[in-house]
């Protein structure tokens, strides 16, 4: 019994354990759902899985299933980020415990019953539990926002190296702005969801792209899905900055940009319903501000990891090559930052190009082709977020030596190969005719599958290592639990 209790304590009461559980659950869901499409379907794996697990996959319900799946995975990511926030942003221990406990119940209930409702028959009790889980996560968000309140006397900041306004910690304020924006944006989707079956019908945003008239509920959903992913990315950028102990002049510039950018982009997305014609301009302004904030953070952190490594080596006047080598020395640290830079090549810049040439190029293509671009860009963004989380986690648990290097470089190179290939796949209409596109599509699909396959293998290896470790009496989990308990003790 003690065996189980001690592991349970680690997995559900320490930040590293909670993060591990959420990554493991996302990995399991991803692996399972990966058997239902793509080459797995052609190889007959889908039929086997469907029959073995009694899945109910009606063709007419595909969109609904996908929406449930997105929510179950996204909510687990929100929980994971929340654990990292409650760990790294100062707050009282009881607040951390309350927030983590609430969100853990919430996301696991959401995940289990969302998938149950979507894939194993429609018991509406399961749908109710799914909504209950989402509500718990929302409530945990309210607790988080309260804990992050920037004007709390006990968390004042006067350190001249950190951005502050009076004694208000602007980094804390940036987290607070993100949390409040997320809560409001969750409501934006929830209100529409409450009309489901009562004036609102399930749809995927990319399918109604060219509808000249969209309903307010449809616009709200389109806004909701965009802003939620954006805010997940903003939260992660702030966390990465915290991990690198971001401070100094760039910190003072960056944090106000994060705050203002987050507020502007969120208001822009909310404005999509009443003022669609100008909302995009507000969103572009907000995005630019946030991206600038992230850029300053990346510049600072690149410099920091380079300086730290050179200092470790005792090099005082490094050559350019030595600087580059120092920058690339630790793929986990470098990768968290590089993936943010790479994101611009495969998401932001193509997005700008698309917006500029929309009428001339993309709106000439058939809808299905434009749709590939739309679904592709956010899948890539979500994928990049996932790789940064993996690199962050591997750094957090302290992978060392060759394993650290191999894991880090596999995640960076394999995912970037996949995302680069995805970009070519998405934009194939620019390079080849429909007839010629099939071989290009085949090659890029192969590269995407290979790249993502390698990432999943690396993830599986990491999870297997942690699973095996849990069976050891004095495994790493015990050390991590002891560290967590030591932090809580006064």
């Amino acid at each position: 019994m003690q065996f189980i209790i001690s592991r349970f304590k680690f997995l559900f009461r320490s930040t590293k354990g909670l993060v591990l559980v959420s990554i493991a659950l996302i990995a399991l869901v991803t692996a399972f759902m990966g058997t239902l499409s793509g080459p797995m379907r052609e190889w007959g794996v889908t039929s086997f899985v469907t029959e073995t697990f009694g899945l109910r996959l009606l063709s007419a319900e595909r969109e609904g299933r996908i929406i449930l799946l997105y929510h179950t995975i996204a909510i687990a990511v929100v929980a994971l980020e929340t654990y990292l926030i409650t760990e790294s942003v100062p707050m009282k221990p009881h607040e951390q415990t309350q927030i983590n406990a609430t969100i853990t119940f919430g996301y696991i209930i959401t995940l289990i019953f969302g998938l149950k409702f979507g894939y194993f028959g429609h018991g509406f009790a399961f749908h109710g539990l799914y909504i209950f889980g989402l509500s718990l996560v929302f409530f945990a968000g309210l607790l988080l926002a309260a804990a992050l309140w920037p004007w709390r006397a006990e968390f004042r900041v006067t350190d001249p190296q950190r951005a502050h306004w009076g004694t208000v910690d602007l980094e804390r304020a940036a987290f607070f702005a993100m949390a409040v924006a997320t809560l409001g944006s969750a409501l934006f989707g929830a209100v529409t969801g409450s009309y489901w079956g009562n004036g609102h019908e399930t749809f995927l945003a990319e399918d109604i792209l060219r509808e000249p008239e969209k309903t307010a509920l449809q616009l709200a959903i389109i806004g909701h899905l965009h802003i939620m992913l954006t805010l997940i990315a903003v939260a992660l950028a702030l966390l990465v900055g915290r991990r690198f102990d971001f401070k100094g002049t760039l910190h003072k510039i960056s944090m106000p940009l994060f705050i203002v950018g987050t507020i502007v982009i969120t208001l822009g997305v909310w404005a999509v319903v009443p003022f669609e014609s100008i909302a995009h301009i507000i969103i572009y302004v907000g995005s630019t501000i946030v991206l600038l904030g992230a850029l300053f953070m990346v510049i600072y952190s690149f410099g920091k990891i380079t300086r730290d490594r050179l200092a470790e080596q005792g090099i005082k006047t490094p050559t350019f090559g030595q600087k580059v080598a120092a920058l690339l020395h630790d793929p986990l640290k470098f990768g968290m930052l590089w993936q943010m830079v790479f994101m611009n090549f495969v998401v932001s810049f193509p997005g700008i190009f698309m917006a500029v040439t929309l009428e001339k190029i993309f709106r000439v293509w058939p809808l299905r082709q434009e749709r590939v671009l739309l679904t592709g860009h956010w899948h890539v963004l979500a994928g990049i977020v996932a790789t940064i989380i993996l690199l962050y986690y591997a750094d957090l648990v302290g992978l060392t030596g060759r394993v650290r290097k191999v894991f880090g470089w596999v995640i960076i190179l394999a995912s970037d190969l996949a995302f680069g290939a995805a970009l070519i796949y998405m934009l194939q209409g620019l390079f080849v005719s429909t007839w010629d596109s099939a071989p290009l599509a085949n090659v890029t699909t192969l590269l995407m599958d290979a790249g993502l396959g390698l990432v999943l293998i690396a993830l599986a290896a990491l999870m297997s290592w942690r699973l095996i470790d849990l069976f050891k009496d004095h495994g790493r989990w015990r050390t991590e639990l002891s560290e967590a308990e030591a932090e809580v003790l006064p």
Binding site: S59, P212, L358, T434, D436
Partner: protein, 301 residues
Amino acid sequence: MKTTPRRLLLSLLLFLSACAAPPIDVDVPVIQTGIDSDAWATVPAGSFLLGQHEHETPLEYDYEIMITDVTNAQYAEFLNAALATGEVQLQDDAVVGFYPGDTFRGCRHELEIAAGDWAFVPLDAPALRLTFADGQFTAQPGYENHPMTMVTWFGAWGYCHSHGWRLPTNAEWEKAARGQDNRPFPWGFEIEDNYANFLNSHDIFERFFEGIGGTTPVGFYNGQTYDGYATQDGASPYGLYDMAGNVWQWTGDVQEGAHYRSLRGGSHTTYGYNLRIWTPNNADPTHAGPDVGFRCARDSE
């Protein structure tokens, strides 16, 4: 292993060679499906379930619709007749014909479709299965009974209009494909490889194009076995073939405030789930692709 520039170059060449276009001038066997591409089906008046969310929609008139897509041979015959009468002309590597234009409302993203000559068929498209020689169009051997592709919406409209017919409306197309129940596919509720021609459906034509696939003859999926390849009967409740897969089909609706024209039914270049009856697709009316064709409708006599 040492990485040398030569190795990198070889790898790149290998990669690029894999991107080469599929062979386009491939001899394909002449396959007779036994389905008459001149035949029409009558769809009786009555309501049906429109779209994924099954909205009961009245369609209170009988109409007729072709049981197959228009074939290359049929379109070649039309072009020859229309060229002779001056209904269409050759202009800048395209067959062009007159279209009376749409009302332009200046809505967001809307392009003006003015009255005038518009391209029906681009003649320089490598995937066109028609040959033009000595002033005559002919279907390429083996492709006579394949659906006419590389045809713009104007070209589809022109064909139907020339015969005194029309393109089916979206509602007419959907009812003809679905019948009066809520099936997602013309033949029923589930899709299997040999019901229709879609991406990686392993039909016998995929082997002629290095696994990539092309069109199949109209009415190919009718339960017959061809060269050891057994098909299932993919006909709709009203006996229409290829209402899912093979080629997207232009429909006739002109939407207020948008210049796009609907394409229905999925094609040999899309995954199976895109063959669901309600799958949305549309394109600029000037679009022509190797996966786009059409069929006509007419009022019942």
